[in-house]
C-alpha cells in the first residue's frame, strides 16, 4: 500500500479566489467567528496573520475584503476534487475536511513511475487553482502527517517510493501537536517529558494504552501500520457539477471567460477519465439579486472537445446580457453518453491534408449563435395534402433513418408559401399582385376525409410578370388560393 495525501492548506480561501486569473493585489481574508482564518498574499503582506481578530485586520488594511468561511462550499469543492482525482486511481477518499487520500500503489505502473504521477497531479492541481502539500507514506495517517508538516507549499516530495523505515524516520522529529488526539493526552505526554512523536513511538504500546486509553494506542499503531486503518473510498459521481464563487460580482461577460475555461477543463477531465461524451451542458449563473440565469448549450453530437465547448460558450455568452453582477458560476453536464472513440490514422491521408472540423462542430456553432430551431433539414412525408408532404426533419444529421416518403410524379413547386394566400377575382380573372392566367391543370387532390375534408383542384398559373405560381381552387369554399412558386 502506498498512500498519497493531498492537503489543501488554502482551501477556505481558494474556494473564493479560484475563479480569478491571478492572485489579486487586493487583500482578501476568510473569517470564522470574528477571527481571521486565512489571508491571501496581499493580506499577509499588510501584516494580517491567522488568528488575529477582525477589527485588528480591518485596522491594518482598510481595503481588506472580508468573506465568511463557507464550510459547505469547501466540502462541495473537495468532493469535486475527489472526483477529479478519480482519474489517477479508483481508491480516492476524502480524509479530512481539507485533505484527500489516494491509494496509488496499484497505478504506479500505469503512470510509468511515481515521479510521472506526481508531476501530473501537481500540474492538474495547478490548473484547477489549488495550492497543495503532498505526503507519501505506507499508512494513511503517516501520509497525512507528512503532508501537514511539509515546510513550504507546493514543496517537492521524494521521487522514490519511501520505505516504512524511512517514513518513520521522517516522522520522529515532529512535534506532538500534530498528533490528532485529545489535547489533554498531549499535555500529559509533555508533562512526561516527551517532545517529539519519535519519543512517544519508542514507548511500549501496551503501557501507553493502559495510561492513555486504547484510542491513542490504536492511533499510534495506525501511524506505524501495526493496526489496520480501513478507508471509505468515494463512488464517482454519475454527473458533472462544479461551481466557482466570485468575491467581486462579475458584471462583464468578458471576465467570465477565464472561470469558464477553468470549469470546462474540469469537465473535460471528468469526461476523459470516464470515457464519456456529453450531449448538453448548462452554465448556471447566480446573480447578486438572487436571480438565476442559465445558458444551455446543446450539442449535435456528443463529444468531449474542450476548445469546441469554449467556442460555443463564447458565442452564447456574446448574446447574453448581464444585468446584475454574478457571484456564482456553475457548470452542469447531465446528459452523458459512452464515448464512441475512433482510432486516428497512423499516416496522414494526403487527400485530406486540409484539416476539416467535423460538420457537427459547424452546426453547433450555428445553433449556439442563431438559436435551436433556426437551422433544420426537411424530409418528404407520405401525405397527399401538399403542405403536409414536406416536414422539418427531426435532428440535423443525427438520426439518419428518417422515414423517406416517395416523391410524387406530379408537378410540384420548389417554393411553398408558409400559408396559402387568398386570390381575388377581378373582371373574370384571378388577381394576386397582378393578373394570373391558368396554364395547366387541374390536378384533383381530395384527402383527409377522416378529419376535415380537403378537396382542391390545382393549377399552374402564370403571373403577368412571367413568374409561375401553383394555385388551387378549394372546391368546398369555392375560393382560389396561391400555394407555391416554381422557382
Amino acid at each position: 500500500m502506498l498512500w498519497l495525501c493531498i492537503y489543501l492548506p488554502l482551501l477556505p480561501l481558494e474556494v473564493f479566489t479560484r475563479g480569478q486569473a491571478e492572485d489579486s493585489s487586493q487583500g482578501v481574508a476568510v473569517v470564522e467567528k470574528q477571527r481571521v482564518l486565512l489571508g491571501n498574499t496581499a493580506a499577509r503582506a499588510s501584516g494580517i496573520t491567522a488568528g488575529s481578530s477582525l477589527t485588528t485586520a480591518l485596522a491594518l488594511s482598510t481595503q481588506l475584503q472580508v468573506v465568511e468561511r463557507s464550510p459547505h462550499a469547501e466540502q462541495d469543492n473537495l468532493h469535486a476534487l475527489a472526483n477529479w482525482a478519480y482519474q489517477f486511481t479508483p481508491s480516492v477518499c476524502v480524509y479530512q475536511r481539507d485533505t484527500l487520500l489516494l491509494e496509488v500503489a496499484g497505478c504506479l505502473r500505469l503512470f510509468n513511475g511515481l515521479s510521472n504521477l506526481l508531476t501530473e497531479i501537481a500540474a492538474g492541481l495547478e490548473q484547477l487553482g489549488y495550492q497543495r502539500k503532498i505526503g507519501l507514506a505506507h499508512t494513511p495517517e503517516a501520509a497525512y502527517l507528512l503532508a501537514r508538516t511539509l515546510a513550504s507549499k507546493n514543496a517537492a516530495v521524494p521521487i522514490k517510493v519511501p520505505t516504512p523505515v524511512a517514513t518513520l524516520q521522517r516522522l520522529r522529529p515532529l512535534a506532538l501537536e500534530y498528533l490528532r488526539c485529545e489535547k489533554s493526552s498531549i499535555d500529559k505526554l509533555h508533562k512526561m517529558g516527551l517532545g517529539s512523536i519519535g519519543e512517544v513511538l519508542d514507548l511500549p504500546a501496551a503501557a501507553l494504552g493502559k495510561r492513555f486509553g486504547v484510542a491513542l494506542q490504536q492511533y499510534l499503531q495506525k501511524i506505524t501500520g501495526e493496526h489496520d486503518d480501513p478507508q471509505r473510498f468515494i463512488k464517482p459521481a454519475p454527473v458533472f457539477n462544479s461551481r466557482l464563487f466570485f468575491l467581486d460580482a462579475i458584471e462583464n461577460s468578458q471576465m467570465l471567460a477565464f472561470p469558464m475555461q477553468r470549469l470546462l477543463n474540469e469537465l473535460c477531465q471528468f469526461l476523459h477519465s470516464r470515457q464519456l461524451h456529453c450531449q448538453q451542458f448548462i452554465w448556471h449563473m447566480q446573480h447578486i439579486d438572487k436571480q438565476c440565469s442559465e445558458l444551455i448549450i446543446q450539442l449535435t453530437q456528443a463529444q468531449a472537445d474542450k476548445s469546441n465547448f469554449m467556442n460555443l460558450s463564447r458565442i452564447k455568452l456574446e448574446q447574453f446580457r448581464i444585468n446584475t453582477g454574478i457571484h456564482t458560476l456553475a457548470l452542469k453536464a447531465e446528459q452523458l453518453l459512452p464515448a464512441k472513440v475512433h482510432s486516428a490514422q497512423l499516416f496522414q491521408d494526403h487527400d485530406r491534408s486540409v484539416s476539416k472540423e467535423s460538420i457537427h462542430v459547424v452546426l453547433d456553432k450555428l445553433k449556439a449563435r442563431l438559436g435551436e430551431s433556426v437551422s433544420y433539414q426537411i424530409c418528404c412525408q407520405d401525405e397527399h395534402l401538399p403542405e403536409l408532404a414536406s416536414a422539418i426533419g427531426a435532428g440535423v444529421a443525427g438520426k439518419a433513418t428518417q422515414k423517406a416518403g416517395t416523391a410524387t410524379s406530379s408537378i410540384r413547386p420548389t417554393w411553398l408559401l408558409p400559408h396559402p394566400a387568398r386570390l381575388h377575382e377581378r373582371q373574370q380573372q384571378l388577381y394576386w399582385h397582378g393578373n394570373l392566367q391558368l396554364l395547366h391543370g387541374p390536378e384533383r387532390i381530395e384527402t383527409r376525409w377522416w378529419e376535415q375534408t380537403a378537396r382542391r383542384d390545382y393549377f399552374v398559373a402564370q403571373h403577368e410578370s412571367g413568374a409561375l405560381y401553383w394555385v388551387y381552387r378549394d372546391l368546398l369554399s369555392r375560393q382560389w388560393f396561391v400555394q407555391g412558386l416554381f422557382a
Binding site: I359, L370, S375, Q377, C380, W415, S465, A467, L468
Partner: protein, 256 residues
C-alpha cells in the same frame, strides 16, 4: 518590361486579357447555351455568383439545379434565409439529397452573413445559396464571403434584388434574371476574365409551360395520340390474320 511594372502586373487583382486564369474551378451549368457564354465554360466554383432578380418564381432555382445535382454528390448544400418554404418533394424529385440539405433561417442580415461565412469556410458545403432580400450589404462583406468561398472551396450563390445591378460587387459572375412567358432571360452583367453583356434565354420545363398551347400540341398529348393510333392499327391486322369474323368482345379487348 521594367521590373517595377512586372511587379505591378504580378498583383493578383490585376487582370490581363492575354493571361486566362485556369486555376479557377468551374462546373458545367447543364445548359449548353449558357456554358458557351461563360468564359469558364460553367459556373465559377470556389467563388461567389450573384443572381439579380426582383421576382421569385421565374426559374431562378431551375437554372442552378443541374449544377446543384452534381454538387450534392460532393457535400452539403445550404439554403440561407430562403424567401419561401423549400418544398421537400419537389427538391427530392429534382435530384437533391435532402439528407445533405441544410436550411438556415435568420432574423437579420448580420446573422445571415455570419452563418454564410461559417458554412462557406468549413469545407463541408459544396454550395451555399443565400437570399439577402433588400438588406443593404456592403462591398467588404460580400468580399469576405467570396474569400470564405475560396478558402472552403465552396460555391456561394447570392440572390439579390435587381435594383442593385448598378452597385459594384466582388462576385466572379453576375447575372440579371428576367421573366419571360416560356423562358427565363439571362443577362450576364459581369464576369471578370471574360466578356460580359450577353443576353440569352433558357426554356422553362415543358411540363409547366406546355399547357399554354392548345391541347393537341402538348407533348404528353402527342404520345397518347400516337400510342392510341398504333393500337388501332394493330387491331384490324390481328383480325385479318385470324381470317374469321371476330366476336364483338374480342375487338374490344385490345382497346382496353
Amino acid at each position: 518590361m521594367k521590373p517595377q511594372l512586372a511587379d505591378v502586373l504580378r498583383h493578383p487583382t490585376i487582370w490581363q486579357a492575354a493571361r486566362r486564369s485556369s486555376a479557377q474551378p468551374s462546373l458545367a451549368t447543364g445548359y449548353e447555351r449558357l456554358n458557351r457564354q461563360l468564359h469558364l465554360g460553367g459556373w465559377p466554383l470556389a467563388s461567389s455568383t450573384e443572381l439579380l432578380s426582383s421576382e421569385h418564381g421565374i426559374g431562378e432555382l431551375q437554372i442552378l439545379l443541374p449544377a446543384l445535382n452534381q454538387l450534392a454528390k460532393q457535400g452539403w448544400i445550404a439554403l440561407i434565409a430562403p424567401p419561401y418554404v423549400p418544398y421537400a418533394p419537389a427538391l427530392q424529385k429534382s435530384g437533391i439529397n435532402l439528407k445533405q440539405l441544410l436550411i438556415v433561417q435568420s432574423r437579420n442580415a448580420a446573422d445571415a452573413l455570419w452563418a454564410n461565412e461559417q458554412l462557406l469556410r468549413c469545407g463541408h458545403f459544396s454550395a451555399v445559396l443565400s437570399w439577402f432580400g433588400n438588406a443593404n450589404i456592403r462591398y467588404a462583406q460580400l468580399r469576405k464571403l467570396q474569400i470564405a468561398a475560396q478558402e472552403g472551396q465552396s460555391w456561394a450563390v447570392q440572390f439579390r434584388p435587381a435594383q442593385l445591378a448598378a452597385q459594384s460587387s466582388p462576385a466572379s459572375l453576375r447575372i440579371m434574371l428576367q421573366a419571360k412567358p416560356r423562358h427565363v432571360g439571362l443577362h450576364i452583367l459581369k464576369q471578370p476574365g471574360g466578356w460580359a453583356g450577353q443576353q440569352l434565354v433558357l426554356p422553362r420545363p415543358a411540363s409547366l409551360v406546355d399547357a399554354a398551347l392548345p391541347v393537341e400540341q402538348w407533348s404528353t398529348h402527342q404520345v397518347v395520340k400516337k400510342s392510341a393510333r398504333q393500337q388501332l392499327k394493330s387491331m384490324p391486322l390481328h383480325i385479318v390474320a385470324g381470317n374469321k369474323p371476330a366476336p364483338a368482345a374480342s375487338i374490344q379487348q385490345p382497346v382496353q
